[in-house]
């Protein structure tokens, strides 16, 4: 069980980094907060009418998409931090030590999850401040946290793999960028029914949509519904592909 203890040691390294250098969390939270404010106060009246309700109701509709935006935004930061770390001498040291090799990567993934969750908490706090009042119960909230953790885990492994695919820090920061479009090309900001046929088909069959729908249902106090299975399968698939690619690239 060397992999677990070594991963815990590497996680401690990442948590110390976060503790000593917390500004990335603010950066990760800033963009989603701006989106949140723009969509609620600038577009909220129209959007609210579009979903057959008002601005206040649109806040509730919007928050799951904003949460996903936070996750994919933080993935860029993760890619930068992994790529930067890989260029440093310390990785060569770890590679020449008889430790569980994967622990370098799992440490990054778990550390990035801590960072992403702190950013999501900050974004959610702002949402609560501007009138987000979900009827979710405590078990519903636990479900929300679970679904967020599942998807964050998947996206983080993917961004670690993308970071490993390039040795260049600038490229690494750009590779996860298209993920930012997922909540837009899904049900994050408007219902997929309002989209033209081709786009609607994509929106309904991409990974972010079932995750967003599951979060939306749980936050509204409804059962998770059929979206949960799709969300879980997508997350497991992305995590597995990301993990295998990252491990292969690391051992290269």
């Amino acid at each position: 069980m060397r992999a677990i203890t070594d991963s815990a040691t590497m996680l401690r390294r990442q948590v110390t980094h976060i503790w000593r250098y917390p500004t990335p969390i603010l950066t990760f939270a800033a963009v989603p907060v701006v989106f949140l404010l723009l969509f609620v106060y600038v577009l909220g009246g129209t959007m609210g009418a579009g979903i057959g309700a008002d601005r206040a109701a649109y806040v509730g509709y919007l928050v799951p998409g904003i949460m996903i935006t936070t996750i994919v935004g933080a993935a860029q930061g993760t890619a930068i931090s992994v790529a930067t770390d890989m260029t440093g001498g310390i990785i060569a040291r770890f590679k020449t030590m008889a430790i569980a090799r994967v622990s370098v990567l799992t440490g990054h993934v778990l550390g990035a999850m801590v960072q992403t969750f702190l950013a999501i908490a900050a974004v959610t706090a702002v949402a609560l401040l501007i009138g987000f009042r979900p009827p979710a119960s405590v078990p519903d909230w636990l479900g929300v946290v679970g679904v967020l953790a599942m998807f964050t885990f998947a996206i983080t492994w993917l961004s670690v793999a993308l970071a490993m695919a390039t040795k260049n820090v600038a490229t690494a920061s750009n590779l996860p960028m298209p993920l930012m479009l997922l909540p837009f090309l899904g049900s994050g900001f408007v219902p997929t029914e309002s989209m033209p046929t081709g786009l609607r088909w994509f929106a309904e069959h991409q990974p972010a949509t079932p995750v967003i729908e599951t979060l939306r249902a749980l936050l509204a106090g409804r059962p998770a519904g059929s979206g949960f299975l799709a969300a879980a399968v997508w997350s497991a698939g992305i995590a597995l592909v990301g993990y295998l690619c990252a491990r292969r690239l690391y051992n290269r």
Binding site: R2, T5, D6, T9, R12, R13, T16, H17, R20, Y21, G88, G89, I90, A92, R93, F94, K95, T96, M97, A98, I99, S103
Partner: protein, 314 residues
Amino acid sequence: MRTFVSVTGLRKSYGAHRVLDGIDLTIPQGTVFSLLGPNGAGKTTTVQILSTLIKADAGEIWVAGHDLAKEPDEVRAAIGVTGQFSAVDGLLTGEENLRLIADLLHLGRAKGRRRVRELLERFDLTDAARKPAVTYSGGMRRRLDLAMTMVGTPRLIFLDEPTAGLDPRSRRTMWQIVRDMVRQDGVTIFLTTQYLEEADELADRIALLSQGRLVAEGTPEELKRMVPGGHIVVRFADPDGYRRAAGHVGATSGDDAALTVQIPDSGGVRTLRKLLEWLDTHAIDVAELSMHTPDLEDVFLTLTQEPSTKEPSR
């Protein structure tokens, strides 16, 4: 002495570029072995292969009694690497860096703490132990780097250009640390360096690497004897003495304006005594006399060649 590292027929190519072209070397336990060579000769590649970072294309490598190709983790447990780029975590303090390594090596809480304290003291880092490593000077970073390498009491340490970019005082401190590691801990050292003085100071044996092949190997003294270059320089007090002596002392070259001649030093003290006797008998005044022994730089420049001077241009 027991052999600690043995390499036979090591080859490595990147595409069509042959970096290592059949290297054989043997390093006895508890000695300092230095690999010298111009930039791009394959020094770092050799270190990367021997330290399990990259795989060789061909060749047999045994480190600490383990076949590197079959038992990389056993080899990893016996070695420590201090690379050209400081392998420390800048955001962690010196103490945290050492604790990180102690925990990865599963030393246990009490033993780990003790080892960390011991190393901080030994490498003169106790005062800076609670400061992040980014704030350290170059010399302190290298010392922390070496301390991290020492946490697991490795039996073979790779020092890849350990003093590159350090000031002379820090360099001397590092040399002393390396000597102590060999003497006190019985560590075997594999050193690569650009500084020939460093190899001369530290190494028991030196191998010269040029274009992927070992072109010479031996003790620093043996290597120096391989190249000509020892000579005596005499500067005369007046032009008359210079004229009278120039043709008789076996000078190979002279400088009329500076009144100096160069005499190849073939017999050491005997050559010198004969020369002084001759000058004395003929009552010739000498303003200055100096002896030059070949140094590793002469050896390096003679035995290693730049690819451009060896291969005809096409």
